[in-house]
Symmetry: C2
Subunit: 353 residues, 2 copies
DNA sequence: CTGAAAGCGCTTACAG
DNA sequence: CTGAAAGCGCTTACAG
């Protein structure tokens, strides 16, 4: 029978070689105070030489230490169920690491109300958490929070959208620019006739706009860089009610004849509803996110393509990153871009979100 | 501080409530012989009532038990590096479960030589493994092996292709029919002109053909079911050398003008090479698998779309399934279909294989 | 069929 | 600054 590696060279063996007690070895191993530099160096050298790997099972069994993580993401709303998926990912990760002594406390905010973000932020600050995962939607408010975490040395993970240039542990989410770029690539295959494409931004909150604008930028640049003659028109719809969207689309579609409509977010289902009600079948429709409404329009062929970015995995990997960093002391990659998945009527069933 | 659940109700507590020793509790817990029906029932009842969950860390620390898994997949060849990915997945899973006392022994065979499959099979049978993962490529030879495992009650996981109707633990891989069906859906968007599509099967081994034929079937049925007028032509190329493929394509492309060429496997790069050498730019090309050669042709726009099925994850999840089944006694889903991923020049960089 | 004791490799007080 | 002992919740022989 093969000998267990960690069995061969445990704290006991290190203590023996260093002529100290296992208590002292433990102090060095866990970076605790109260060891002379000399013995510390001696022990570290032996640890190095033995290539000692602690037994995680023994460690977990003996330790009573608990870690507490907080998460701060938008609450699931009737308007969009998008945030259900990241939350599920978070809960799944929480269940997996629970036995390792980790407690997860979820906090939420209203996407349309900055005040609720600040309220939750205050609670989290008071809670003295060991790690935080957040969706930094409101830029200004987020930055204040980020600075506070930095001071307290609390590791911070961003998901879904990034605020670059800050000392967060990592960002896990889409590369927005590239996802718009990909959308343009698909549109290019879909638009052989008069090559007219309509870009539709539907969003109430100006704050969230930079999110959509990044996608639009990628979308535009594709056509510029590929010397394409595709003619792009764009409309911004700042009210998300159906009546308003209907009116805007009526106006726009009366002006010109389009091959493709590209909706820059998950609200593509609203446009699909409009298409269906108006029996529009000759315009290709492409948008974002694996939501029930969108999938239904994919099934009945009103929507042609959906671009998805594994929202559940963002939550899951976000929380796991805190765990890997804090418990396993692994190196965490600073920018973790999600795959850009292309979903159609024929493969949505197999899409593991 | 919150009380650890498993701490509150461990074997000790069960033993106390049942008026037995912890040794007897352990016997019941692990289904060992030598406990009277009466005490066994009593203990089981208490376990039930307490909703006892064993502490996996203590279990692992105390136990010396080892499990040994064997894997049997094609060896990576110069002709196709496809099997590198599943192997990487297997090795990654092996690294993750190593600390849980699991040893993994990889075996290989030559895709073009059934005898090598049988040789490895003999070795595995002799090795008395606790679980086996395999790619059941050669149907007849595989079935003999499957029967043997069934008799010895060794759980068996299939990856990449299935042999339905056998008592294996699970299948993890593509739904081939659906993946051909999806390819047809894309072709349908790409072929607006004369609507002529050429289907190309390139494969030496007749044994492997059922694999490709399933995809072709899905591809054909899409057009039938969607009342499409797309005209399909098919050629089988049974020699995989470039000269031969070149000749066949020369012949075929002289006969007719196609919008799209659909290659039913990863050998699409050979057709791409032909396209490039002959400066063919007006035919769309679509094929399978995230291989370096294919990606290069995707980058330079010779290949338009690749369909991929996460080969690495197949290996990873295959091995993990054995672990979940044997160690954690989880329920394993019998058929686990991989997502059908659509890869283009614009999203391949973010494809986490 | 059952029990009592030792031990897995760590961490945690406590004593000095 | 350091050591000796107890204990985490299981499993493993061994004894009866």
């Amino acid at each position: 029978m093969e000998k267990n590696n960690s069995g061969a060279t445990g704290v006991k063996e290190i203590a023996r070689l260093a002529n100290v007690s296992i208590g002292t070895v433990d102090r060095v191993l866990n970076n605790r105070v109260g060891v002379s530099e000399k013995t510390k160096a001696k022990i570290l050298k032996i640890i190095e030489e033995l290539n000692y790997q602690p037994n995680i099972f023994a460690r977990r069994l003996a330790s009573k230490k608990k870690l507490r993580f907080a998460t701060l993401i938008p609450q699931v709303s009737a308007e969009t169920k998008y945030w259900e998926a990241p939350l599920n990912g978070i809960l799944q990760a929480a269940a997996e690491i629970k036995d390792f002594g980790i407690e997860v406390a979820p906090f939420f905010f209203d996407q349309n109300d900055k005040a609720t973000f600040n309220e939750s932020a205050v609670k989290i600050r008071a809670g003295e958490f060991d790690g935080i995962l957040m969706a930094p939607m409101f830029e200004e408010e987020s930055i204040a929070f980020i600075e506070d975490c930095k001071e307290k040395k609390i590791p911070l993970v961003f998901i879904n959208s990034d605020i670059p240039g800050h000392s967060n542990l990592c960002y896990i989410g889409p590369n927005l620019y590239q996802s718009g770029y990909l959308a343009a690539h698909i549109v290019n295959y879909l638009s052989p006739a008069n090559k007219k494409t309509l870009v539709v931004n539907i969003s109430k909150e100006i704050d969230l706009h930079h999110h959509l604008l990044r996608k639009e930028e990628g979308f535009r640049n594709y056509f510029e860089q590929n010397g394409n003659t595709n003619k792009l028109t764009k409309i911004d719809i700042q009210e998300t009610g159906y009546a308003h969207i209907q009116q805007k689309l009526n106006e726009q579609l009366a002006k010109d004849k389009y091959d493709v409509v590209f909706v820059t977010n998950s609200r593509v289902s609203t446009v699909a509803r409009y298409f269906e009600e108006n029996k529009i079948k000759d315009i290709k429709l492409i948008g974002y996110d694996f939501l029930e409404d969108n999938i239904n329009y994919l099934k009945n062929k009103t929507i042609d393509f959906l671009i998805c970015q594994k929202p559940q995995e963002q939550g899951y990997r976000g929380l796991m990153s805190l765990y890997y960093h804090l418990v396993l002391h692994s190196n965490i990659e600073k920018e973790q871009f999600m795959p850009i998945d292309i979903i159609t009527k024929e493969n949505y069933l197999y899409y593991s979100n």
